[in-house]
């Protein structure tokens, strides 16, 4: 037991590694604050396009969404990070993460928002239009608020996945929580910093998981 604590929860190493890990924590929070809105924006664009019900828009859009849902996010990230420089375009780790998340998580957010928009009865749009609101106004003030409310658990669940996904940044040297923890691990020759990072992720995201679990149960009970 003593040996296990020395290996995985070494107090001396926690103290020594804390400044490095803390910097990573802030970067993870910052990164999340950037990529979540970016993904939502991508999803909103896709969902709004999908509300145009002509086949000429619908099919290419579905292909786009399926394409990015089939592509593992890490593959997309590596493609941008290691492939683009050959075309003379060097984006840097952070920009690559931003673009990859916009494309990948945008596709997921797009599907959720589309389902939300579809869940709002057509009569709502007709009523809104008949009061003199333009198409865009009807969408922004009448349809979207209801759509978002209807799919709130799914949006939250996807956001949780997006925050977890920011750990991929470590692969392209973005100094987020996992990257910093691995740096600290290689300096101290001890896995304690990675355990600390895992504990931080857990403490940060556990309340969200609990909330989701409750929302899902309530949705089920209401059926």
């Amino acid at each position: 037991m003593e040996a296990l604590i020395q290996t995985f929860f070494n107090p001396g190493i926690i103290v020594a590694a804390w400044p490095i890990v803390r910097a990573g924590l802030w970067n993870t929070v910052l990164l999340s604050l950037i990529v979540v809105p970016l993904g939502l924006l991508g999803g909103l664009i896709l969902a709004l396009l999908a509300s145009v019900k002509t086949p000429a828009v619908r099919w290419p859009l579905m292909a786009w969404v399926d394409f990015f849902r089939a592509f593992p996010p890490l593959v997309l990230l590596i493609l941008l990070f290691a492939g683009l420089p050959f075309a003379g375009l060097e984006l840097g780790g952070f920009a690559c993460v931003a673009v990859a998340f916009f494309l990948n998580t945008g596709a997921y957010y797009g599907e959720i928002l589309r389902a939300g928009i579809d869940s709002v009865p057509a009569g709502q749009v007709e009523a809104a239009r008949s009061t003199g609101l333009s198409r865009l106004q009807a969408m922004a003030y009448v349809v979207l608020p209801q759509a978002v409310r209807n799919v709130l658990p799914d949006l939250l669940s996807n956001t949780l996945e997006v925050v977890k996904l920011t750990s991929l940044g470590s692969v392209v040297a973005v100094p987020e929580l996992l990257y910093q923890a691995r740096q600290a691990q290689s300096i101290t020759y001890n896995p304690t910093p990675i355990v600390v990072a895992a504990v931080i992720y857990f403490l940060m995201l556990w309340p969200v998981v609990r909330l989701l679990s409750r929302l899902e149960n309530r949705a089920l009970a209401g059926r």
Binding site: L168, V171, L178
Partner: protein, 222 residues
């Protein structure tokens, strides 16, 4: 060099095609292992939970929450770089398999449990009153109804988690992305990466399209 010569160089592609194909085999093996063990473990946990033993259920809920809140890459790194300190040295393949199987276990337990609880209480009581045992009720009455409800979310989760096999690259698993990356650094040419990307699309695009179909086919009629 032209764009085609850089990104779709025939000579480079031909040379590294066998590597990419061996990567495809590893990815498929890893994916199947994760799916079978992860879903089986998830179902087992959900069935255990239906027994209604309080302390056991708290433990199950904690394990599920843990693997839902940790990023899969963190779990992989923890197993691969952490366990050698206690003289267990799982390979990259085993680390990736275990990590993603745990994650799938957690998500599928939640989905199976939601399915089981969605079957109305009265169904249990009615089945038991006809003389069926607890196990018989579960197998012949509850699970058949629960499974139908679980299929769409389970399919989507399984696809999303199986795509995580690419994370194995970080711990030196020779799956598609790993093979493609090392081929790029050996050939100084991005063509292998394009091949790898194409391989992922060939593998996962049919699954995503099938998932979409399953979602509408098994959709809960409201």
């Amino acid at each position: 060099m032209s764009f085609t010569e850089t990104f779709f160089n025939g000579r480079v592609m031909l040379k590294y095609l066998p590597d990419i194909l061996s990567g495809v085999v590893v990815t498929i093996e890893l994916a199947l292992l994760i799916i079978v063990t992860g879903i089986a473990a998830g179902l087992a946990l959900a069935l255990l939970r239906s027994l209604g033993v309080r302390p056991l259920n708290w433990l199950i809920i904690f394990i599920v929450d843990l693997f839902r809140s940790l990023p899969p890459l963190v779990i992989i790194v923890l197993i691969y770089f952490g366990l050698p300190s206690v003289n267990l040295s799982p390979s990259g393949f085993v680390s990736t398999w275990l990590s993603l199987a745990f994650v799938l276990m957690a998500f599928s337990e939640e989905i199976f449990w939601a399915g089981i609880t969605s079957v109305a209480r009265g169904q249990w009581e009615a089945a038991r009153s006809t003389g069926l045992s607890f196990g018989q009720t579960l197998m012949s009455v509850v699970l058949p109804q629960a499974f139908r409800l679980t299929i769409p979310p389970l399919t989507n989760r399984t696809i999303a988690i199986t795509k995580g096999t690419a994370l194995g690259t970080v711990v030196a698993v020779t799956e598609i992305l790993g093979q493609a990356s090392s081929a790029v650094s050996n050939s100084y040419n991005p063509s292998p990466l394009m091949m790898g990307a194409a391989a992922y699309l060939v593998l996962f695009l049919p699954v995503v399209v099938a998932g979409r179909w399953i979602e509408t086919r098994f959709a809960w009629k409201r």
